[in-house]
Each structure stands twice: as structure tokens, then as C-alpha cells.
Symmetry: C2
Subunit: 472 residues, 2 copies
């Protein structure tokens, strides 16, 4: 089934107006369209009709005013690292590329916050912070734009300690459907002054407004940071170590599970020589004494559950190498099957159910023919499968869909979520009614209708059709 | 100026229907109405036309269906501890008292969460958790209901470490204007599955829906907890100690400032013998070693800035006595002027501006005749004035309004907020356009209109009139 919808050609008057406004930064060139009509997912590309390279909030506002007058869809685009088809132009329309909005507007060292444009990436921000003693902790692996990370409510390896984009965005500048500009939140650490507009836009995937600027919370770089790797006899022992660590309230900064197949892929890709067994990657942040104490507590738990000795990486370069290997796991897995695309799953369950969720998933994995790697941010109860498929092979796609369905159904039965951090896009929309109930999704539709009555903003994403919003 | 609006008598058909549904739990008795038409603030009481004592989500839903059919206002009520007139029946209507919804539905020890009905108070929850090794950290002082705390986005002394209700509510059950029941969020630690409905209702003060059940995040009780008091030669030295502590990233659990007048009131009320000087109250949570380390770091900072020696309270009873004295500060201050009411302010500013904000506020205090105590959750940049007034004395009320205006204007000029934790109610509504800009408040109006088109839910709260939503 194709998700592409019938589309009208762009009105000539709109084309003329956009050419006048944006000159060469308005493009209908084939390669530009192709580059903006796909993301990192298995979803088939769907090209926009034009791309605008915006350089300021006012330009995005002008684009929205023009597009809204013609009821033409607008899709925000950062670096295209999304994995659920968020940027695909299902209904055609205009892609607004924000990657040129790369200004770091302000760093307030004394208040531990920074104001950045939406196209700034997390690595760019952290490079700019290098001499400040501060860092921005959210790390989804890819060097995504901060606007995109806010729009998908991203998280990643550090979330177990520092939270997700939800907790780390203090305020936003957002362009609404009609081109008006709204500033949400502020620089105070907390506020009870009215509805939480900031959180309304975080995770809204460009369907309620276009985020053009963010005020982000920063963290002091800890006095000490130390990383370690520990292999386990089986996945269950590794997961039980995670569960106990979380239940004891040990403030680990990162605690990541990689299964044996992922380790094999990582070794091949990153030239590492790690044991090809279920493995936990840890990181500890704090004072020197606190890091030592946390590490000792976790080692005690791991040892009791059969974990091998910890291999430590304390020097910055070693730590970086280790986390680079972890971050490259997704691409390393892709190389297990040359030419394959990854069909990613992203469930998150209450921590008490994690061992059971992963054990049952492994039973499912044993029943299919395609290679599937399992890894994830297990401290939050969040794990991914990288299901390697040839999208042209219907048997493989059927297997991938079957296992995705199984994993999601199981997570929902455990009061978990179909997506911990990737977002909904087009890939997860059909699970939302089961996850939240029809009344909640009808309420989300009411919000969408109130903010974007013409459905110009990234139409067809997140929300299942209103006629599907019934409890079965 | 009175805020009371013209009101229509309750339709007879509605009265009959509610009597049938709720029997004796539907009341129009004078004392019941009087009790439900006021809160802890200076705002003059405004009585509802009837009170319904609800005992379940389904009962609240039935009440909303009936009231909505007659377009009659409904105001949610917990224990009436709000301080901005949140529960006043400006337009009359029905007060729904949720204090009978006191069931602790579930405590999930292994997942560090609990499900409670909206009428459960924070002390009730913590008493029920006594043997679990867990606690619920949000502590606004008053023994408020958890539903009310979510509705006002409350926080308090522990927020500097554990966050506010925004970070500690995982999910909600909410009755919408038309009586439909929505469940938001879930029990996974994080999710990117659609719009953040949970955060939409947290802080909405009963104007978008009525919270009837909450899933709350719990924390493991720390291995060690230790509290201390330290007096300073002046307020500025105390505030600078706070700023450095936060900027160094020391994870204090509580850090509270009380000025000399507050200390005098506390000593009189709580029979303590603390120095009547600007004072910080601290609490440290963690392992024994971590607590010692944090305490040492903070003592070093304090000493350098002229802080006296720390007086320690390590035993549980001593700690409790100390925090009881802190919590009673509000009532202690009221007794400074018998018969007075408190006109509370609640600004929150970026931490770098806190010293300046407090110094300028003290200059304002020196210019008025009424007694004013200053204390607050300074680790978040949040502080209160307790302005003691006789509401019948126009000179005193004018002074109180003048100082409130000054304090809020200054906070807004510093990119802070007019209310850090009390909420807007009727008291702060007129500051919202200045704080957020007209576009943001118009967007809040659009949300209100979408969710409550008849304006039945706590009408007249939070939002200034739409005609005032213009940038000056």
C-alpha cells in the first residue's frame, strides 16, 4: 500500500511569490527534491514539489503566510535523520529546509542555558560549548538538528540521567500555520504561568507549528566521567542488572544493552575486539568519589548476576571511541546484510517488564529468517530492533512487519509505548489508538484542527484518520 | 473592582438531575457553599451555586455531561489551599469537591510509580509509601491534593533536585468538558507517541479538563539525608551562595532562603531559637559519602561568602522539625500582624539575576509601611513575598498591589515568570500577555476554545480577556 496521496500542482502565484522572496533559495531541482523526500527509514521516498532554504524565523513566517493562503502543505526538514518517514511529502507541497539556521544566539553560562536556531546540530552546540564547562546532554546517536530533536521528542543514551528533549527544552520560537510567530516558555527554571505551550510543540513533529529557535537547558560537565563494558552469559542477566541498578536509584548516566549480533557487527565495523555476547555499556558522571561509588555498586550487581569483569575506559579518547562504536551500531548492523534497509522498532516498557519483553522478543526473532539485531537504552526500558530487509522482497517485509507488530502489541499490553524516542511519523500512526485510546486521539485531532484548520503543517503525520479513532 | 460576573440561577432540570445522581452528595447548604467559595488568598470569596462531592471518575463525567448540557460552569476543588483565587466561582456554577477520591489505586514498587485518585494528598501518599523504600518528592508546603498540585503545576522545596509536577506526572485520567474520559501518558519512562496531553493538562487549573487520577513518578528514599541551617551577614551573601551552588552543579535536594523577618516569625511560631538573620536551609540526599561531599562543597562556598557555621540536623526527627518550621513560615508570618491576610507574590527569575532581583525587592520593601517577609525556593530562582494586609484597608491594599506590580515587572524584565509555582488563577492573569506575548495568549485561547467551547470549565481563570491580547 502506498501512502502517497493525490496532489495538486503548486499554484503559479505561489511559485512566483516564493521565487521573489527566496530567489535561489527556492528550488524545484530534481536532485534537491530527491534529497528532501526521504529519511533514514525503509519508507519509500515521497518528494515535495519545492524546497525553500530558510535563514530566519521571519522567512519561515513569510513562507507559512504564503503557503497558508494557498492551502499548500509545508514540511520542516533538518538533516533528514528521522526514521519514521516524518519528512516524506505524502501530499506534496513545500519542504522548508532549516539546516541553514545555524546560529548559536546566546550561551548563558551563569544560567546553564543556551538559545539556538533550529538548524544547529547537537555536535555543533557541544563544540561551541567546549570552553564553557557546560554541555548539552541529549544524544540520539545521529548528529540531528536540535529543532528536529525537539520536534520528535528525541532522547538517546543519556536520557536515563538527564531526561529527554521534553525536560531539556525551556522555551521555543514557533511559526504557526497562519505565519504568526509565538514564543513559548522562558528562561526561568520553572513556571506555572498558563498552558505548557513548550511541551505542546515538543514531539508534535511539525504538525502544529514549525520550531525555529530553542532555549535549551545545559549541564555542568561532571568533574569525573568513566565508562565501562561488561559482557554477560545471556541477555536476561544483563537486563536484570539494569533493572536492579534503576530500582536502587543509582544515577548512571548511560546504561546500554547490545546483543551478541550487534556486538559482532560493531566489532566488524569499528575494528573493536569486544566479546560477542550480550553486553552492557555504562557511563558514570559525578565527582571522582561519586563515580567510583556508583561504579562499585553496579559492578557488585553485575557480578552477582554473572557479568564478567568491567573493562574500563576512563580517558576521554577511550570513552569517545567506545561511544562512537555504540553510536555506529545502527550503521554497523546495516552492513550485516549489504544493500539492506533497516526497519526499526522503538518500544519502551515499564522497567519491571523489560526482561520479559526482551525474552519474548528474542523468541520472535528466532522464528524469522531475516537478521535482527537488538540494542537500546535499557535504563529507560527502551530498546530497538534493527530488522534488516530488502524492501523489494515481500517475504522479508512481511516478516519485518510481523515482528514489529508483535513487539508493539507486547509493549502496549505492558502499559508501554510504541515509540520511546523516534516519534510517530507515518510508521507508528496506526498504533496510537491502541496505545492511548480513541478519546485521547480525538483530542489530539481537536488540537490539530484548532492550530492548523487547513492541515497545511506536515499533513498525514502522527494522527491516524479520524474515522479510525474508535475503541475496538 | 469586583471580579464577580453576572450569574444565572441553576436550571431546575439540572438541580433535579444532580439530586437524583448524587443524593446527599449534592449540596446547596450555606456553610458548604461558603467553604467552597474561598481559598487561602486575599481574593474575596465568590460562592458556587452548589457543591457535588464526587467519588469516582465516572461520577465526574456524569456531572460534566449534565452541566455541559445546561452550559453551567464546573469548578474542581481539592482542599482549597490555592492562593490565587483558583477555586472562586466568578460565574457561579457547580463546585466539584474531589477530596473524597482518596484511593491509592496502585503502587508499583519495581517501576517506581504510583496511581492515585485526585483527592489523595501528598502526605497521605507518602504515609502509604512508608514501607516501600520510595517517596513522592514534590512538597509545596501545604498538604494539598495531588490533583490540585498537578492542576497548578506545583513544586516547592524539593524541586531544585526532583523537578516540579511537570516532570513527575507520568499520566492522567481527565474528564473533558463534554464528559468524555481521556487517559493520557502511560507507565513507560518516556514516549514520543503523539502530542503531550499530560503536560497540556498539568498547569491548566481545571480550565481544560478535570483531573481525576494521576500516575506519579516516585523516588527511592536516599541512603542518607542531612539538613543544615546557615545564617549570613546579609541577604546578598546568602543568595550568592545559592547561585554558586547551582552553577557548580551540586545536586542539593533543597536550598531555601528565609529573610530576617521570616526567621523572627518562625522563632515565635515554632519556638525555635534560630538567628534572626538571612538564613539558608539546606538538605542533601544521596549515599552517605555523596551527602558528606556535597555538604562540604556547599560549606566551603558559604564560608567564603561570610556564612556562619552550619547547624546540622541529621536525625529524622530533627530534620522533620526543621522542615516543619520552614513549611509553617507562611502561617508564622501571618501571625506577625494579627487578622491580616497574605498577599503572596511568586516570581521566578534566571539564577544569574536572583541577587539583583532580591536586592531591588528589598529596596521596594523599605519604601512601604506594611510588614513584608521574603523567603523562597531560591535554588530555582523562585521567591515569595508575604505581604501582610488588612483587605479592608485601601492604603495597605494599594501598597501591596504596588509592590506586587514592581516585583512582577522586574521578573519579566529579567526573562523570568510572574508565577513560579502558585499558578495564575485570577490573580496573575493580567500579567500573562506581558510575560508570553499576545500571540502566545491567543494560542492559549484557541486551545481553551477547542477543548471547552462553552467555557464551562473553571471560567475566568488563567486567560485574560481575548480583547486584551494585544502587544502594547
Amino acid at each position: 500500500m502506498s501512502l502517497a496521496q493525490p496532489r495538486k500542482p503548486l499554484p503559479e502565484a505561489l511559485i512566483t511569490a516564493l521565487q521573489e522572496c527566496f530567489g535561489k533559495r527556492f528550488s524545484r531541482g530534481e536532485s534537491v527534491l530527491a534529497q528532501h523526500g526521504r529519511d533514514e527509514s525503509v519508507h519509500a521516498p515521497m518528494l515535495p514539489d519545492a524546497v525553500v532554504f530558510a535563514e530566519s524565523t521571519e522567512e519561515v513566517a513569510e513562507l507559512m503566510r504564503l503557503s497558508y493562503a494557498h492551502a499548500v502543505p509545508v514540511i520542516a526538514y533538518g538533516v533528514g535523520s528521522s526514521v519514521e518517514g516524518h519528512v516524506l511529502a505524502i501530499h506534496g507541497g513545500i519542504c522548508v529546509d532549516l539546516s541553514g539556521m545555524k546560529r548559536i544566539v546566546a550561551v548563558h553560562n551563569d544560567d546553564l542555558d543556551a538559545v539556538v536556531e533550529a538548524g544547529v546540530t547537537r555536535l555543533q552546540l557541544n563544540a561551541a560549548l567546549r570552553d564553557s564547562g557546560l554541555f548539552f546532554p541529549i544524544d540520539p546517536g545521529a548528529d540531528a538538528t536540535l529543532g528536529g530533536m525537539a520536534a520528535t521528542r528525541a532522547s538517546g543514551t543519556n536520557a536515563v540521567r538527564y531526561g529527554t528533549m521534553r525536560e531539556n527544552v525551556l522555551g521555543l520560537t514557533v511559526v504557526l500555520a497562519d505565519g504568526s510567530i509565538v514564543r513559548t516558555g522562558g528562561r526561568a527554571r520553572k513556571s506555572s504561568a498558563g498552558y505548557d505551550l513548550t511541551r505542546l510543540f515538543v514531539g508534535s513533529e511539525g504538525t502544529l507549528g514549525i520550531i525555529t529557535e530553542l532555549t535549551l537547558r545545559l549541564q555542568p560537565i561532571p568533574e569525573a566521567m568513566s565508562a565501562a563494558v561488561c559482557a554477560f552469559p545471556d541477555v536476561d542477566a544483563a537486563v536484570r542488572t539494569v533493572i536492579q541498578t534503576i530500582q536502587f536509584g543509582i544515577p548512571v548516566a548511560r546504561i546500554e544493552l547490545l546483543d551478541a549480533l550487534t556486538l559482532a557487527a560493531v566489532n566488524r565495523h569499528s575494528k573493536t575486539t569486544l566479546a560477542e555476547a550480550p553486553t552492557l555499556f555504562f557511563e558514570f558522571h559525578g565527582s571522582a568519589a561519586a563515580v567510583e561509588e556508583q561504579a562499585q555498586l553496579v559492578q557488585d550487581i553485575a557480578r552477582e548476576l554473572g557479568g564478567e569483569d568491567f573493562a574500563w575506559a576512563t580517558r576521554n579518547e577511550e570513552r569517545s571511541r567506545l561511544w562512537k562504536a555504540r553510536h555506529d551500531a545502527y550503521f554497523a548492523c546495516l552492513q550485516l546484510k549489504p544493500g539492506a534497509r533497516a526497519f526499526p522498532t522503538d518500544v519502551c516498557v515499564p522497567i519491571s517488564r523489560l526482561a520479559e519483553a526482551i525474552a519474548s522478543t528474542n523468541e520472535d526473532i528466532a522464528r524469522v529468517s531475516i537478521p535482527i539485531a537488538l540494542f537500546g537504552h535499557v535504563g529507560d526500558g527502551n530498546f530497538h530492533l534493527v530488522v534488516l530487509v530488502d524492501p523489494a522482497n515481500p517475504t522479508e517485509m512481511a516478516e519485518a512487519k510481523w515482528i514489529n507488530e508483535r513487539v508493539v502489541e507486547r509493549a502496549l499490553a505492558m502499559e508501554g509505548t510504541c515509540t520511546g524516542e523516534h516519534g510517530v511519523g507515518i510508521g507508528k500512526a496506526r498504533f496510537l489508538v491502541r496505545e492511548h485510546g480513541a478519546a485521547a486521539i480525538r483530542l489530539m485531532h481537536a488540537l490539530k484542527d484548532a492550530l492548523d484548520p487547513q492541515h497545511c503543517l506536515n499533513p498525514g503525520k502522527i494522527l491516524p484518520p479520524i474515522e479510525d479513532c474508535t475503541d475496538s
